[in-house]
């Protein structure tokens, strides 16, 4: 890893007095009327609210976009349509009862959400998950990464207008993994599987073999996927050079996950924090050079292959043994007063939980660091100067889930 240069200059505060508005008269398509003395240049600006009920905002999300022709000159994201104050709910509930709510943060990757939360509580209490539980966590976590990335590529192509064909292929494979999750935890998406100091239940008979088969078949799907997409000229011209995010801005803006690595920063918590048992596995961190939409797409495809290699190793070497720390207590947990910040490399980026305990049975402060939200910090920087069509794919390449953005 190279040392990073100076962070970029921040946004200047908008100069005061620059107010413009659209013509009130709805019968005309005249552009903004100008209140300032000098007058605007002879340009028609169009203000469009992309969302919240727009087909490609991945849920209920809004971007207030100002367009000059089709070129974006301003873009402000508007959040909160899915806000349910999960943090407050968790502060009113017991430590255990927060786990099923974490499923619903990033509702595509419930396993990693569970994992980040129980890891934080383990830091707070000092529970030590046994070996087998750690293996199971790594396996389900990497399976989650597999289908999250596959679906993201599908959604991205959907945003590019590919009529859902890649998405359907991704969903076909995702279904196999969700089947594994269902036979393991009882639910396909809202797994609620991890527990403090371990996992809830042991692997059912034959699960390892099924998982091995899924993992063995996955590369064929990836090859097909790449044959369908990676060389496609339309995808290349649509995504290369679009939404470029510089290394410096990415670091300073706290961008994490595949998006950061597409900008060329090799920061992966599995390597940096060495949490769980990741140091035992052999895998690499793919890096992009350009930081554009295409790099973000490619990084995800390459990460899927690395995940497959971790999965192969983990499935081959998983030991027998207990699945929960015998010291661990689930119900009525009262950690000593203190605080802990735990973070894992979730598929979308760095997912962090910050829990403050005051010794009572419910957390005093429960905070989620949502990668989706913080990765959106640079959305406007990436979109300025591009067209609406690019905004849509740039947003798609960020990989957000609104359950996590709004919490």
């Amino acid at each position: 890893m190279t040392a990073l240069a100076e962070p970029p200059v921040m946004h200047e505060a908008p100069p005061s007095g620059t107010i413009w508005r659209l013509a009130e008269d709805r019968s005309s398509f005249a552009g903004p009327t100008d209140d300032r003395a000098g007058g605007l240049p002879d340009h028609d600006l169009l203000e469009v609210a992309l969302g919240p009920h727009h087909p490609s905002t991945h849920g209920v999300f809004r971007m207030d976009v100002v367009l000059d022709g089709e070129e974006v000159v301003r873009l402000k994201p508007v959040f909160g349509y899915l806000h349910r104050n999960h943090e407050k709910i968790a502060e009113k509930n017991s430590y255990l009862a927060a786990i099923p709510y974490t499923d619903r943060l990033d509702y595509i990757c419930s396993m990693t959400n569970n994992w980040a939360y129980v890891m934080t509580v383990e830091k707070l209490t000092g529970f030590q998950p046994p070996e087998r539980a750690e293996y199971i966590r790594v396996i389900v976590g990497e399976l989650t990464r597999l289908f999250n990335h596959a679906c993201l590529v599908g959604f991205l192509l959907q945003d590019m207008g590919a009529l859902g064909t890649p998405l359907m292929y991704a969903f076909r494979e995702r279904e196999k993994i969700l089947d594994l999750f269902e036979s393991l935890s009882g639910a396909r998406m809202m797994c609620n599987y991890m527990r403090f100091g371990g996992v809830r239940c042991d692997l059912p008979d034959g699960w390892i073999e099924e998982a091995k088969q899924v993992v063995a078949e996955f590369p064929r799907f990836l090859d097909e996927f790449e044959a369908l997409l990676t060389g496609n000229e339309i995808l290349l011209v649509r995504s290369q050079g679009i939404g470029v995010l510089s290394k410096e801005l990415a670091v300073n803006a706290g961008v994490t996950g595949p998006m950061l690595r597409a900008s060329g920063v090799g920061y992966d918590l599995r390597k940096v924090d060495k949490y769980s048992i990741y140091p035992r596995f052999n895998f690499r961190i793919p890096l992009g050079q350009h930081g554009d939409v295409f790099d973000r797409y490619m990084i995800r495809l390459l990460e899927m292959r690395e995940s497959l290699s971790i999965l192969k190793q983990a499935l081959d070497t998983i030991p027998a043994g207990p699945i929960v720390d015998p010291k661990a207590k689930q119900r009525g947990l009262r950690p000593k007063a203190g605080e802990a910040y735990g973070r894992i490399e979730a598929p979308k980026g760095e997912l962090g939980f910050y829990v403050v305990s005051d010794g009572s049975p419910n957390p005093y402060r429960f905070r989620i660091r949502p990668p989706s939200l913080i990765n959106l910090t640079v959305l406007e920087d990436m979109c300025l100067g591009h067209t609406i069509a690019d905004v849509v794919i740039i947003l798609g390449s960020v990989d957000i889930v609104l359950g996590e953005v709004d919490r």
Binding site: H11, S16, T18, I19, A23, S27, A30, L40, P41, L384
Partner: protein
């Protein structure tokens, strides 16, 4: 007989839409009415067995010119005529004089032609092939001249459109960002 009836229908239609093109308030409506008038003319040409002219009229006037007119209307913000503004210009007398003059200029050749005489309708179908041959032999020079003129006009338009904006005209998007409410305003709002 059916031809006659349809001729009158279309003639009235053309006149009506042409009038509408002059009289309507919204310039976009005017442009659309003009397009309708062009289409009606094309039908009349067709009835006169002037196939080629008819199709050319449709292709060029309806398909291209009217779209051009509409774009021009939209781009020049001509569409926001305030209600209450007189449609007729104060120079209507000049306009009338010009109209009379034009009518005269057209009337003279028409009246001097054999238009009034009843002659047996002759099959005057001008096959496309004939038109093409005439254009390529007898009228070659005028055709090429016109083609050259149009090309020059096209290139000129492209050059004008391509003109690089001057430094002062390049807008800094950030300078146009709508003013955000300041912290104080927001604090004043949220604090009871």
């Amino acid at each position: 007989m059916p031809n006659n009836i349809s001729f009158y229908i279309f003639a009235v239609g053309v006149l009506a839409t042409a009038t509408a093109a002059m009289r309507l308030r919204n310039p976009v409506h005017c442009a659309l009415a003009a397009a309708a008038a062009f289409a009606g003319l094309a039908v009349i040409y067709f009835q006169l067995d002037a196939e080629f002219i008819s199709f050319a009229q449709l292709l060029i006037y309806v398909g291209a010119i009217s779209i051009l007119v509409i774009f021009a209307v939209l781009l020049t913000r001509g569409s926001d005529i305030q209600p209450g503004v007189e449609l007729a210009s104060p120079h209507w007398l000049t306009g009338l004089a010009i109209a009379v003059l034009v009518a005269f200029v057209i009337a003279v050749p028409v009246c001097s032609s054999s238009f009034g005489e009843k002659i047996a309708p002759k099959m005057t179908v001008a096959p496309v092939k004939l038109i093409g041959e005439e254009l390529m032999t007898r009228y070659l020079f005028p055709l090429e001249t016109m083609g050259l003129l149009l090309t020059v006009a096209l290139i000129g338009a492209a050059v004008i459109a391509l003109r690089e904006p001057e430094e002062s005209e390049i807008r800094n998007p950030k300078s146009e960002i709508r003013k955000q409410p300041t912290t104080e305003e927001l604090v004043a709002e949220v604090q009871p």
